[in-house]
Every structure is written in C-alpha cells, then in structure tokens.
C-alpha cells in the first residue's frame, strides 16, 4: 500500500446517524396514503361503495372547508405542523451518534459512549469502595459524570475516585477530550 488509507468517510459515516429508519418510516406512510387514495379512485371508477369517502366527495369537502366548523381543521392543522416541523428538524440536525473515536495504530476505532461509561463505572466503584450498583456514569460528547452513592458509615475519597476516572479516561486515548466530574450523594445507603 502506498499512501496511508484515509478513514475520513468511514468515520463520518460511523459517527453520524444515516436517518434510514426515519426515511423508511416516512416513505411507508406516504406509500400507504397513496395506496388508500388509489383504492378509493378504483372503487369509484368501478361504481363500488367507497371505503371511507369517494374521491369526488373528498374534493367537495375540501372545497367546502371555508364554511366548515373551525375545530377539526384547526386540530389537524396544528398536528400536521408539529409533525412537519419535527421532520424538518430531524433532516437538518447533524444526528451525531453517542460514540467516541479512539486513537489507534492499526485502523480506525469507534466505541459507544455506553462502553466507555461502564468501564469508567467499574473503576470508579473500585476506587470508591462502593458496589457497582451504586455507581452511575453518563458519558456525553465532552463530559463524563460519575455519580456515587456511598455506603453508610464509609466515607468516599473524592480525590481517589476523580484520579481513577481521570487515569482511565487518559488510558482510553479518545480523540476528542472528555472532562470528568465526580458527584457523591450526600446521604449514603445502608448495606450497599
């Protein structure tokens, strides 16, 4: 191999959502709508009874909307606007996945934030001498927050926990820096 391989495209695609699920869901809804309208048209052409309303009646109802009661079109209008707005926002947002990239000598590495959090939780629990069940870690793009509930009667050394977490984060070698903070609950739990 001559030039080192550029992982830019691969990494961009791994770190962002493809929006496939939403696009497919939207397509299915549109397909169902089209299929319904098509069925009504065919039924009316065959002079059969309509499922809900014949297409001619739909057009007539639409034309009479100006004299129809206000409540129904208002409600439908508001709901459609909210759905439309959410779709537009979803289309424009970057859609970052909850992942971090790790420095690697061979290839490119991405890890779910959940994996990073559970590794941090294990080390924080050991440093604090509390049960892993009483350790909750949440990892976001720039922050890792460790929440500990100490065992009643046993003090937790905040610095020891902070050091352990800091050490682990440094060892993971994430490509974007993540700050850590330790929150120790003010009241402990008995027998935890």
């Amino acid at each position: 191999m001559s030039a080192p391989y550029s992982y830019r495209r691969v990494l961009r695609r791994e770190m962002h959502s493809p929006r496939s699920v939403l696009a497919i869901a939207v397509s299915v809804v549109v397909i169902l709508l089209c299929a319904y309208v098509g069925t009504e048209i065919i039924l009316s052409m065959l002079n059969q009874r309509a499922l809900l309303a014949a297409p001619q009646d739909m057009l007539a109802a639409l034309a009479a909307l100006g004299s129809a009661p206000v409540a129904l079109p208002t409600g439908i209008g508001v709901i459609l606007m909210i759905i439309g707005l959410l779709l537009v926002i979803a289309a424009l947002k970057p859609g970052r996945r909850a992942r971090h990239q790790l420095v690697a000598s061979r290839g490119a590495v991405v890890a779910d934030d959940e994996v990073i959090a559970s590794a941090l939780a294990r080390h924080a629990a050991r440093a604090a001498n509390v049960s892993p069940d009483n350790t909750v870690v949440s990892v976001s793009r720039r922050k890792a927050i460790v929440r500990l509930t100490p065992t009643s009667g046993t003090p937790v050394h905040r610095d020891a926990v902070a050091n352990a977490v800091q050490e682990q984060l440094a060892a993971f070698e994430l490509t974007s820096p993540v700050r850590s903070s330790v929150v120790i609950a003010s009241s402990g739990k008995v027998g935890a």
Partner: protein
C-alpha cells in the same frame, strides 16, 4: 459504512416535512384567519367546479368516469414505485473480494473477503471480553474495508478491546502480507446489559 445515500434520506425527510408543514399551516390559516377564510370561501368552490368540469371534459368512454382519475392513479403508482425503490436501495455495499493481484504469467490471485472475515472472527470468538462479534467487508470509494464489530461485556475497557483486536489484525496482516484498511466498532447495547458477568483476566 454501507453505501446508503444519506443525502437522499435527509432530502426526502425534509421535503415530506415541509409539505406536511405547509398543508398544516394552510388548514390552520383557513380555519382561524378571517381574511384567508373569506378568500378561500369565495375561490375554492370555483376551482372545484373548474376541476369537475375538466374531469367531465375527458370522459373515459361511456363508463361515467374520467381519464383524469387514470392520470391521478398513474401518478400515485409512480410515487409508490419510486418510494419502494428508495426503501430497497438502503444499505448494500458489501464486497466479496478482499484482494486481487495483477495477473502474472502464472495466473491471477484473488482472495475472498470470507478468508479475512473467518480468520478474524475465529480469533475473536473465544475471548471472554466479547459477547459477540461480526466481521464484514465493505466497499468504500472502491477500496475494500474490513469492519470488525464487537459487543463487549460491561466494564471492559475500550482500550483493552482495541489492543486485542489490533493484535488480531496485525497477525492477520502478517498472514496476508498486506494491510487492509479496517474499522473497529465497539458496541454496548441490550445484549451487553443482559449478559452474565464473568471473569475476564
């Protein structure tokens, strides 16, 4: 890593979203704004009559129906077909050939992707750190790229996982005599949460 057309996904969502937004806004305006309501009241029936007249003007033989509906049906079928093509176009981009050596007098050497996939998978499967793993080969801009995706047990350091897989990859590089680009994906998820705990070291 697959070659889903992500721009198209977003464009479709944006277009449908804007249409929904516009229809909703129109319905709301007709219902609540007196000026628009009055204008709609005066013009909509005329447009409706115009359309009804147009439908009558092109009768479908003597069935009492109209060619207009056939056109609408054709349009609907076209939309449905395009959307179905769009849905089935998602994903894809797997590659079957890992390496193809230029032909020599002795012949051509082709190495199948499954060689790499099985070799790497086999090495990773016995590891206690992992609950599951999958190896696949994708074509990215014409180059085969290996994707090694592992679900690891809770609490396992992603750095340790990286080291394990990098070692496997390096061993495979020696075997192959080449370096194939590789992406390592370390996942948590439901399976990791439900799996039994075990001793890893």
């Amino acid at each position: 890593m697959n070659n889903t057309n992500r721009a198209l996904n977003r464009i479709l969502i944006a277009v449908i979203g804007l249409l929904t937004l516009l229809v909703g806004a129109a319905a709301l305006a007709v219902a609540t704004l007196p000026a628009i309501r009055a204008a709609y009241k005066s013009t909509a029936p005329d447009i409706h009559n115009g359309m009804a007249g147009w439908l009558k003007a092109i009768p479908l033989f003597d069935t009492g129906s109209s060619w207009g509906w056939i056109f609408v049906l054709a349009g609907l079928v076209l939309i449905i077909t395009l959307l179905l093509v769009f849905i089935f176009r998602q994903g894809h981009g797997r590659e079957n050939i890992l390496l193809k050596e230029p032909a020599t007098q002795a012949g051509t050497t082709i190495i199948d992707s499954t060689v790499a996939e099985h070799a790497i998978q086999d090495d990773l499967d016995g590891r206690p750190e992992f609950i599951g793993s999958s190896v696949s080969t994708h074509r990215v801009h014409g180059t085969p790229v290996l994707k090694i995706s592992v679900t690891c047990r809770r609490g396992v350091s992603p750095r340790d996982v990286t080291t394990i897989i990098e070692n496997t990859l390096t061993a495979f590089d020696v075997l192959l005599g080449r370096q194939v680009p590789a992406l390592i994906e370390i996942r948590g998820g439901m399976r990791a949460r439900l799996a039994r705990t075990t001793r890893t070291q």
